[in-house]
């Protein structure tokens, strides 16, 4: 009886693995395809029949190009700096605003919420020239802050955090205030840790979005020393007939920081609510 139960359990696990495998592989396939492509030569891309694997995994030419043709290390540093700046400010501002929308009643609540959400609905390109004027008047062209400042208002993050805060157990706040906690203390010491998985996911979203930004960083910096990774990658390729292998190598290299970040924070994504609450 017990053995049979064990077999059934194993069979179910195997089935689960098979289903997950069948779903996860197509999802990750384009990434693998890009990775495999980065080892090919220009000629291999046009060979028939199309092959999945490159002739040689030792063909690092494209990676060499990515890191030697342009000062890519410097670009990585700029990208990291601006991205860290954006993430930190964006998440803090969103947390503050989300707290107000989740816990306070005030007259303009609905209107202001929609106003902030509205920032997502305006195509960034309509704003570029005016923002360029503003930022240059502030004397921030060619600085990390100039690259970052236009992205500080994170409507998407604010919205999601509000949703998360609303779901937090109500008893938490009552208890905290009984203990003499103020709003700020409760927010940063209790609420944010409780919602850690969401906060970290949003941090990653903000990270990836800024890491992959192209047009604004290009506009607001004039000198080579201030350029970011995505601008560097476009320098390696033509607009229409792209040097596929080099772009793919650049894309794979650019993916490393976000993926490393994800793997580092992955375990923190899964902290359950109670554990989060107790640990503080």
């Amino acid at each position: 009886m017990k053995a049979q139960h064990g077999i059934r359990k194993k069979a179910r696990l195997a089935l689960w693995c098979a289903v997950c495998f069948c779903l996860a592989v197509p999802v990750v396939f384009p990434v693998m395809y890009a990775f495999l492509g980065s080892f090919r030569t220009a000629g291999e891309f046009s060979r028939l029949p199309p092959a999945l694997f490159p002739d040689s995994f030792l063909n690092f030419d494209s990676y060499v190009q990515v890191f030697t043709r342009v000062p890519m290390a410097r670009y990585f540093l700029n990208s990291l700096g601006t991205t860290a700046l954006v993430c930190a400010v964006k998440i803090c501002l969103s947390i503050l605003a989300a707290y107000a929308f989740a816990f306070f009643e005030f007259r303009l609540k609905d209107l202001l919420f929609v106003v902030i959400l509205g920032t997502m609905m305006l195509p960034a390109d309509t704003l570029i020239i005016t923002n360029y004027r503003t930022v240059s008047r502030m004397g921030l062209t060619n600085t990390w802050l100039g690259v970052a400042i236009v992205s500080f208002a994170g409507a998407s993050q604010m919205f999601m955090l509000r949703q998360a805060f609303v779901q937090a157990p109500r008893a938490l706040r009552d208890a905290a205030f009984m203990d003499g906690c103020g709003d700020m203390r409760f927010l940063w010491r209790i609420l944010v840790p409780v919602c850690r998985p969401v906060v970290i996911t949003l941090l990653m979203q903000a990270f990836v979005a800024q890491w992959n930004a192209y047009l604004w960083p290009l506009m607001v910096t004039d000198s080579d020393a201030m350029r970011t990774v995505q601008v560097g990658i476009t320098m390696l390729t033509g607009a229409e007939d792209a040097n596929y292998q080099v772009v793919l190598a650049g894309a794979c290299a650019a993916m490393v920081p976000p993926v490393v970040l994800f793997i580092t924070v992955r375990n923190r994504l899964t902290a359950s609510m109670t554990r989060g609450a107790v640990s503080d």
């Binding site: 240059s136 047009l215 290009l218």
Partner: protein
């Protein structure tokens, strides 16, 4: 501990990534360009060479900075002009057709006409007239041609040879290839757009739009309706489609390099890239742009980009012109053409031994230069205000003719209305 290691690593990283600051030159100038890939590498090499030779001699140092694609660089130029920061503009900038209007309206612009006024002894006779004329707007010479290209025909010489088919000269010839090679290949893929349609109309002796194709004023209507040129072309195009030789889609460089597509018409600047992509699997043939029919003239118009200058005072103005003369001069032009497929845009370059030796070895690079020579003087590239709209409307209207089986006459009417409407609005907005 971890913090210490991290901060050490970061410090090392920052130290490693500092760019060397240049000091010592008397005049510092900035050059914005939009070249990527091999062209970018070649251009930056030329600037380095300038700094080592002419620059070192005359005390000029040039910093070349990539500013994104042409349109992005123009947006930036626009931003700097409208925010009252002309100081941040470069001394020399690479500009394509999309930037002509904004540049010519800029107060800080230092056009070639300004230069001629200041230094009447400047000699422009070495630059190819057709290329030079491309950068003339309303009678003002804006810049000097740097990256000059034209549309040529690429074909798979190995396959055509094996079927005994010669290189196509007219669109009818392309139609004939289908019968010769059978169904195993796509013969020709193209959807006409502004420059390619303009080429075919030009061969028939017509402009695409009025005001001499927009070179003598802002065009406000099509110039190819009443003379029947558009309808003639559309008829030929529809016949070609009926032969089964024409695939109604943009040519895919991938399919061509894979040997699946036999003929494509594309910019001559792609030669070097294509050779790399083909990787010796077949022999690449390059010949002149196909003629609409046997009666049509030869040729195709010039496109590409030029170098323009901005005024930042006497010294820098002179330095800027030194750089422009160097980059557009014979030696640089030959070396840039060899790396890319662009055409050397001055006579001294085309006649130089270095270029002659090179095309003897790689005949593929010669076709574009020959075509430029054979193109009638009065064939001008089309300058239209609503450029993107116009471009895609031509593509979609011609494509719809084939897919929805419209007559050439109906299509011409539709295009006159669609395209004419866009031109009118533009004129209204910019009066």
């Amino acid at each position: 501990m971890l913090k210490k290691i991290m901060s050490l690593a970061l410090a090392a990283f920052i130290a490693l990534t500092q760019l060397p600051a240049y000091a010592g030159a008397e005049v510092e100038i900035v050059f914005w360009h939009s070249m990527t890939e091999m062209a970018g590498e070649s251009l930056e090499g030329l600037v380095d060479e300038f700094n080592r030779t002419v620059g070192a001699e005359k005390g000029i140092h040039v910093t070349a900075v990539y500013q994104g694609a042409y349109t992005e660089a123009v947006t930036k130029m626009n931003g700097m002009l409208s925010s009252g920061r002309p100081d941040s503009l470069p001394d020399v900038m690479q500009l394509d057709a999309t930037g002509k209007v904004v540049y010519s309206g800029a107060e800080a612009a230092y056009t070639v006409d300004d230069l001629l006024g200041e230094r009447p002894e400047t000699d422009l006779s070495d630059y190819l007239p057709s290329a030079l004329k491309n950068w003339n707007l309303n009678g003002v010479q804006l810049g000097i041609p740097f990256a000059t290209s034209t549309t040529v025909t690429y074909y798979n010489k190995s396959v055509l040879d094996s079927f005994g088919v010669p290189a196509p000269v007219t669109l009818q010839d392309i139609g004939g290839i289908r019968a010769a090679v059978g169904d195993g290949y796509t013969v020709y893929a193209a959807v006409p757009n502004t420059p390619t349609l303009n080429n075919w109309l030009g061969q028939l002796g017509s402009d695409l739009v009025n005001c001499r194709n927009g070179s003598e004023g802002t065009a406000d209507s099509l110039a190819c309706i009443e003379n029947g040129a558009l309808e003639t072309f559309l008829t030929v195009w529809k016949d070609l489609y009926a032969t089964g030789a024409l695939d109604n889609a943009d040519a895919s460089t991938d399919a061509f390099a894979a040997g699946q597509l036999l003929v494509m018409t594309s910019s001559s600047s792609k030669v070097a890239g294509l050779l790399g992509r083909i990787d010796g699997r077949f022999e690449l043939g390059v010949c002149a742009y196909p003629r609409v029919n046997a009666e049509a003239a030869n040729g195709a118009t010039v496109s590409g980009s030029c170098l323009v200058m901005f005024d930042h005072g006497d010294e820098r103005r002179q330095a800027a012109w030194e750089l422009v003369s160097f980059l557009c001069g014979a030696e640089s032009q030959v070396s840039f053409a060899r790396a890319t497929g662009y055409i050397p845009s001055c006579f001294s370059a085309l006649e130089s031994g270095a270029w002659q030796d090179f095309i003897a070895e790689y005949p593929q690079y010669e076709a574009a230069a020959l075509q430029l020579r054979d193109t009638p003087e009065n064939m001008l590239s089309a300058t239209v205000g609503p450029s993107a709209d116009f471009y895609y409307a031509i593509m979609n209207d011609v494509s719809d003719m084939l897919l929805d089986d419209l007559t050439p006459e109906e299509t011409a009417d539709m295009m006159a209305e669609d395209l004419g409407g866009m031109l009118e609005i533009y004129v209204k907005n910019n009066r």
